[in-house]
C-alpha cells in the first residue's frame, strides 16, 4: 500500500503565558507522518508531547508554523472553531488515557453516535458500530454501559469509537497508562493492526517503555524541541 504523508508539520512553535511566566511548549518542530505508521511521541514530563498532539488535533492553535492534515492547511486558513470541529469529525479519531466514553450510553451507542453525527441513518450507524465492536472483539459487550466495562474492554470500545469516522489520523494521549502491561500490549497491537488494515496514521504519546517496541518510529521531545528521530 502506498503510504501518503497525512500530517505535515513545519516550524511549529507554541508558548504559553507571557513575560516571566512564559513557557515554550514547542519550538520549531518539523515532522511528517504518513498513513500506515504508528509513531510514538515520547519525552519527559512537560516536554510538549500533549501540546504537539493538541496542535495536530486542531485543539490548540500554534503561535507559528504550519500544519497540513491530509493536504489541508489548518489554522492559517481562517477556519473557525466550528470548521475545525467538523475537520476533527471527518479526519481524526481520538483515544484518551481514560476511555472517555459517554457514561449514559451503552458501548454500541457511543460508537454509533459518531456515525450518526456524520449523517448515517440510525440502522446504518448501528450496523457500523456493531461491525467495529466485532473488529475489536468486544461485540458481546455492545449493550453494556461504560461503567460495566473492564478497563481493557472500555479502551477497545474507545478505539472502536475513534475508528467510527474512518479517520486518516488517530491521536492517542497515553492510551495505555491506565492498563496493566498485558492489556497495554493488546491495545498497542490493536493499534498496529488498525494502522495497517485501515491505512491510518497513528500518533501515540506514551511514557511506557514496555510499549516502545510497538512503534514504527519514535519522536523524542525535550523542552519543546524534537531530538534525533529514532527508528524502533
Amino acid at each position: 500500500m502506498a503510504h501518503a504523508p497525512v500530517i505535515e508539520i513545519e516550524h511549529l512553535s507554541k508558548s504559553f503565558g507571557a513575560g516571566e511566566a512564559r513557557v515554550t511548549a514547542l519550538a520549531d518542530v518539523d515532522v511528517t507522518i504518513s498513513t500506515g505508521e504508528v509513531v510514538g511521541l515520547i519525552g519527559p514530563s512537560g516536554s510538549g508531547k500533549s501540546t504537539l498532539l493538541n496542535c495536530i488535533g486542531c485543539i490548540t492553535e500554534p503561535d507559528a508554523g504550519a500544519i497540513r492534515l491530509a493536504g489541508r492547511e489548518i489554522y492559517a486558513n481562517g477556519y473557525t472553531t466550528a470548521d475545525l470541529r467538523r475537520l476533527r469529525l471527518e479526519l481524526i479519531g481520538f483515544i484518551f488515557q481514560s476511555h472517555n466514553l459517554l457514561p449514559f450510553m451503552p458501548a454500541w451507542e457511543n460508537v454509533a453516535l459518531v456515525c450518526s453525527m456524520l449523517g448515517l441513518s440510525m440502522p446504518e450507524a448501528r450496523d457500523r458500530a456493531m461491525e467495529l465492536l466485532d473488529y475489536l472483539d468486544v461485540s458481546r459487550r455492545a449493550k453494556a454501559y461504560p461503567s460495566e466495562l473492564s478497563g481493557g474492554e472500555a479502551q477497545r470500545v474507545a478505539i472502536a469509537r475513534a475508528l467510527a469516522n474512518r479517520p486518516k489520523i488517530i491521536l492517542a494521549d497515553e492510551p495505555t497508562a491506565a492498563l496493566d502491561s498485558e492489556r497495554a500490549a493488546i491495545v498497542m497491537d490493536l493499534l498496529r493492526r488498525v494502522s495497517r488494515e485501515q491505512d491510518t496514521a497513528i500518533v501515540v504519546v506514551s511514557h511506557d517503555e514496555k510499549v516502545f517496541s510497538r512503534f514504527d518510529r519514535m519522536l523524542h521531545l525535550r523542552d519543546g524541541r524534537l531530538e534525533g528521530v529514532k527508528s524502533a
Binding site: 493538541n54 485543539i59 476533527r88 469529525l89 481520538f94 472517555n100 459517554l102 449514559f104
Partner: protein, 378 residues
C-alpha cells in the same frame, strides 16, 4: 440520536425528583389561577342570577356586596311606578354561621321575593319555595340534603330544593329563603348596634321593614339612564346599572385577589426558573467531561445546546403535565371552587416553556465554554 433522553434515562433519580418538585410548584400556580377564576365566577354568579338592569341601594353605598346597605322595602313599589320599569324585586343578603351536624356551617342567605326579579333560581333537584315561610333552597356544597331540617337563628327551615352551584363572592355556599324569613334572620344575626343604627337612619321613612337592595328590570333598556337619574334624586338611595355593579364587584372583590394571586404566581414562576436553572446547571456540570469529549470528537455546538435545552424543556414540560394532573385530582378537596380555563392552561404552558428556555441559558453558556482539551487530561 437523542442524548438528552439517554442521559435522563441513565440516571433518572434527580431528574424525576426535580420534576415532582416542579409539578408541585406549577400545581400551586395552576391552583391559584383556578381559585382566581373560581372567585370571578362566584362573585359574578350572584349578579348572574339577579339579572338586574339597575341596582338600587342605600345612598352613598356602592351596592349590596361591596358595602352594607339598608333601604326600606317599599322603595321597590315607588320605583315600579317609574316609566320604563317592567318589574322590581327586593333582596336581602346576609352571611350567617349555623350549627350543622356538629360543625359550624357558613352560608350566604339570599332572601328574595319569589316571582319577582331576583327570585328566580335554577334548581338541580327538588322544587321551588311555595310556602311563604320556613322553606329553603340550598347549594349542594352546604352539605344539606333535600327534606333536611336546619335551624337558622331561632327558626327551623326545611330544604325543599337544591340549587345549581351558587356561592357568594366570599365563596360561601348560598341558601335561598323568602324575603320575610331573611329579614327575620338578618335581624337575629346583625350586631344590635348596626341594627339600631340602621333603624335610626331610616326612621325618616318610618320603617323597620328593611332590605339590602332593590333590583330593577326595564321594559326598555334605553330607559336606564333616565330611571337611574330619577332614583338618585331620592337622597337616601343610590342607583347603578348592572354593568356598573359588575365593575364595582370585580374591582372590590376580584382585583385585590388578582393582585395577590398575580404576585404569588410571579414569585412561584421566579422560583421555578431558579429551580430549573440550578438543576440544569448542575446536570451540565456533571456532564462536563462528556461534553468536552463530544466537542473533541467533533460534535457541533448544536448537539451540545440541544442536550442541555431538551433537558430543561423536559423538566418544564413534565413538571407542567404532572402539576396539571395533580391539581385536577386535588380539585374536589379544595375548600374553594376551582375553575380551570383552557386559555389559562395554554398561557401557563407558554410561560413555563419560556421559563425553561431562560433557565437553560446558564447551563448552555457553561456547556459552550467547556474546553475540549479538558477531555484529554485525566
Amino acid at each position: 440520536m437523542n442524548l438528552a433522553w439517554r442521559d435522563i434515562r441513565h440516571s433518572p433519580g434527580r431528574f424525576l425528583l426535580t420534576c415532582l418538585g416542579l409539578s408541585l410548584l406549577l400545581g400551586v400556580v395552576m391552583g391559584m389561577t383556578a381559585i382566581y377564576r373560581g372567585l370571578v365566577a362566584e362573585a359574578l354568579g350572584l349578579l348572574d342570577v339577579a339579572q338586574a338592569d339597575i341596582w338600587v341601594v342605600e345612598g352613598g353605598k356602592r351596592g349590596p356586596f361591596a358595602e352594607s346597605s339598608r333601604i326600606p322595602r317599599d322603595t321597590r313599589d315607588a320605583i315600579l311606578a317609574h316609566w320604563g320599569v317592567a318589574a322590581t324585586g327586593a333582596l336581602v343578603y346576609q352571611s350567617v354561621e349555623i350549627p350543622h351536624r356538629g360543625k359550624i356551617l357558613r352560608v350566604f342567605v339570599i332572601g328574595a321575593e319569589m316571582g319577582r326579579p331576583g327570585g328566580e333560581f335554577e334548581l338541580a333537584d327538588g322544587r321551588h319555595i311555595l310556602k311563604s315561610r320556613y322553606e329553603l333552597l340550598a347549594d349542594p356544597r352546604t352539605g344539606l340534603d333535600l327534606g333536611e331540617q336546619v335551624r337558622i337563628g331561632r327558626n327551623d327551615f326545611t330544604v325543599v330544593g337544591l340549587l345549581k352551584e351558587l356561592s357568594s363572592s366570599g365563596g360561601d355556599p348560598v341558601v335561598v329563603m323568602t324575603l320575610r324569613d331573611a329579614q327575620i334572620v338578618q335581624s337575629q344575626f346583625d350586631p344590635p348596634a348596626v341594627h339600631r343604627d340602621a333603624a335610626r337612619q331610616t326612621s325618616a321613612v318610618g320603617a323597620t321593614d328593611l332590605v339590602n337592595a332593590v333590583i330593577v328590570r326595564l321594559a326598555d333598556a334605553s330607559a336606564a339612564e333616565d330611571v337611574i337619574a330619577s332614583i338618585r334624586r331620592w337622597k337616601h338611595l343610590s342607583a347603578m346599572s348592572g354593568p356598573e355593579q359588575e365593575a364595582i364587584l370585580t374591582r372590590s372583590v376580584v382585583d385585590r385577589a388578582r393582585k395577590q394571586i398575580g404576585m404569588f404566581t410571579a414569585i412561584l414562576l421566579v422560583v421555578t426558573t431558579v429551580v430549573i436553572g440550578l438543576i440544569i446547571y448542575t446536570m451540565t456540570l456533571d456532564k462536563k467531561k462528556a461534553i468536552a469529549t463530544l466537542k473533541l470528537i467533533g460534535a457541533p455546538d448544536s448537539v451540545i445546546v440541544k442536550l442541555v435545552l431538551e433537558q430543561a424543556l423536559a423538566l418544564g414540560g413534565i413538571g407542567f403535565i404532572l402539576g396539571a394532573t395533580l391539581i385536577r385530582l386535588a380539585k374536589d378537596y379544595f375548600p374553594r371552587r376551582l375553575v380551570f380555563e383552557t386559555s389559562d392552561t395554554v398561557l401557563l404552558f407558554g410561560v413555563v416553556t419560556a421559563v425553561a428556555l431562560l433557565a437553560s441559558v446558564i447551563g448552555i453558556r457553561t456547556a459552550l465554554k467547556i474546553d475540549p482539551a479538558s477531555a484529554l487530561s485525566g
